[in-house]
Symmetry: C2
Subunit: 445 residues, 2 copies
Amino acid sequence: MSFEELVELIEKKEYWALKEELSLLNEADIAEYMDELNTKDTLLVFRLLGKEKAALVFAEFSKATQNEIAAGITEGELATVMEDLSFDDMIDALGDLPSNLVQKLIAKATPEKRKMINQFLGYPEDSAGSIMTIEFVKLRKKMTVGEALAHIKETGLERETVYTNYITDSSNHLEGIISLRKLVISESDEVLEDIMDIEVVYVHTDDDQEEVASIFNKYGYLALPVVDSEHRLTGIITVDDILDIIQEEATEDFERMAAISPSDDEYLDLSPFGHALKRLPWLFILMISATLTGRIIQNYEDALAKMTILTSFIPMLMDTGGNTGSQSSTLVIRGLALGELDFDDFFKVIWMEFRTSIIVALLLALVNYFRLLVFSQVAPMVALTVSLALVLTVVTAKLIGALLPMVALKLKTDPAIMAGPLITTIVDATSLMGYFYLATKLLKL
Amino acid sequence: MSFEELVELIEKKEYWALKEELSLLNEADIAEYMDELNTKDTLLVFRLLGKEKAALVFAEFSKATQNEIAAGITEGELATVMEDLSFDDMIDALGDLPSNLVQKLIAKATPEKRKMINQFLGYPEDSAGSIMTIEFVKLRKKMTVGEALAHIKETGLERETVYTNYITDSSNHLEGIISLRKLVISESDEVLEDIMDIEVVYVHTDDDQEEVASIFNKYGYLALPVVDSEHRLTGIITVDDILDIIQEEATEDFERMAAISPSDDEYLDLSPFGHALKRLPWLFILMISATLTGRIIQNYEDALAKMTILTSFIPMLMDTGGNTGSQSSTLVIRGLALGELDFDDFFKVIWMEFRTSIIVALLLALVNYFRLLVFSQVAPMVALTVSLALVLTVVTAKLIGALLPMVALKLKTDPAIMAGPLITTIVDATSLMGYFYLATKLLKL
């Protein structure tokens, strides 16, 4: 069913046919369609979905649509949806709903489940604990393959959580793992103890999700066990959630690097005030610090008045400095994020940037020198001054651009903060000082 | 075994102990350790790995280390490694090796395999065909669950490729899929036809890998089938490869947005010349276009000479314009990349940016006006001129920043190219023109 057909069925009020068509669609497709509908039709379609499908679709929605639905259906209906969500999706949804609603929903759960929900809601944001699920299969090492398969069949768990199974002792300590593949290809009388994998890679509940993502990236696993401080198995994280996290973390870096305060909201879900709020803090800081550069120009007012043409090269120097500094900071920040670089590579990186900057600076300056002589017909001495200032700008910009993210890492802040805009401001000041110093000396102003 | 212990064992030449320790380590860890060793020790360790482990470790290496190893071992040894690699990893490795070596390796393969290798090497770079693997299980719809499980046990495939199994007809057309979970929880005499999933999401061999990644993201699958133009099943793509691709695509966008020509090389694997080559093209273009801004300043030389203080506000205006434009372009580019925005949202985005820019511009201008009056003690009329120019700059920058990536999408080029550096250059010119126009009118210069 295409989106147009869906709209047609709604308009014609052919709800039976609509219900039929919806049952054939994948939950991700339904969620995508519903995002385009108005609130009234969204609720209508949502109520036409079966109980289980409604939960699956709900899990696919953006935060904004989840809140829209939660506000439109009754508390009873919402409680049913919550019950049918997988545990990690439920915790996710609860984290985003208004807190009075969350309290009411939790009150409806069984005491045991309520305790667990509160425990999960208590994990710090973006920690392994906050993204794990409790839906997985626990086995004992004395079980045979046949018993293990029977147990899996009994629990009948959904989706990918069943492909890696966890062997724990009576105190819930993680002892080993075994994949469903291994169980299927082994003889049914073999004992798990003899065939399970005991070199288990695991994460802790309080590990950062970015760290977890890089472990998935490194080992290529489908799921990772999460243990608490006493090495007890408390949950698992599956790779499908990691895809989202990798995108989220990249978005956060993109935003930080463009002087935006990161948030989880989708572009169109924010109001203009929300957008302004994300963007203003850094703009204020950077506007004020750009004043410093203005001061430098004021100090050389007399020199500039004597030779006004010098002013016209300021944009080119500033832009080139900003661009070349951004290049270095971007490469270093990305290298750090992907684990290709770490703080131990400090001197290697500085040395690499130094040599690169010399090559780049000399070529740019050479082109610039002849361009000024031939096309702009400025005096050779002026062309030389501008070109030398360009060399200075490029070399400083590249060194500062590479240095600051590494320093941020050492100071345990996000290297992405030390990106383009901040570096541009610093490079502006140093490059203009160099330019005016060279001008006063070489042109004797 | 820690890296230090590894080095110690190498130094003491305790190769038996080393071999023992290596057999206990995960291939990803071994590859990470070996990346820190010199060529001699890398080759030594590589030869101590068992035949199969060597292949697994080889697949984990960066391009540069793969080439280093390939150059250090004999052709016979390399052929053995290639044989033990999984098919997609082998194709990957062949794609990066020197072509004369590739020819020799292909010559050693069986005619059938040779044909397949050549077919796979022929898929366009970054297409679904170039990242798929041929290691998966094909079943027939008339099989029972018991027969299917027996067949899977027989083929004994490695790792995650076995969790989704594909049902094809005699001409290899894809008819349905069934998960290993479903097989395990079903009764052994059920027939696949009755329980298989026929609503199959698939991709084509020539689809772009970015598209493939977004399908994985949307549906959360572990694997996707790849079909050719006649709907014949030619391979599958597994989610672990998608993790790498998402990172790769994000890196490409980061690089494009920082005016760098993207490449697959890790930071430290490139020479300074390689780095310079990635960075120079855009720097040249942007340096030349910044000249335009210089020309604008030259046109207003007389006005500037009359009131030199005006020059000192140029950096603040330029930087704020650049930063605020980058914010908008980054949010739009990222929204497009994640599928949160598309071209249909054109007017919504422009309207959002317009309202946001008004809020941001007025607040920045207000702060700026009083800052200039109180702290810098400039004339009220000058402060007004600068503040109005700031409003103009912010509004234009945000509109251009949002507009250009959308236009790029429409023109079927990568929106990421229309990012910060390019927009900065355009915004510089428009904002300075506005500034000087306002100055000549308001200050009557």
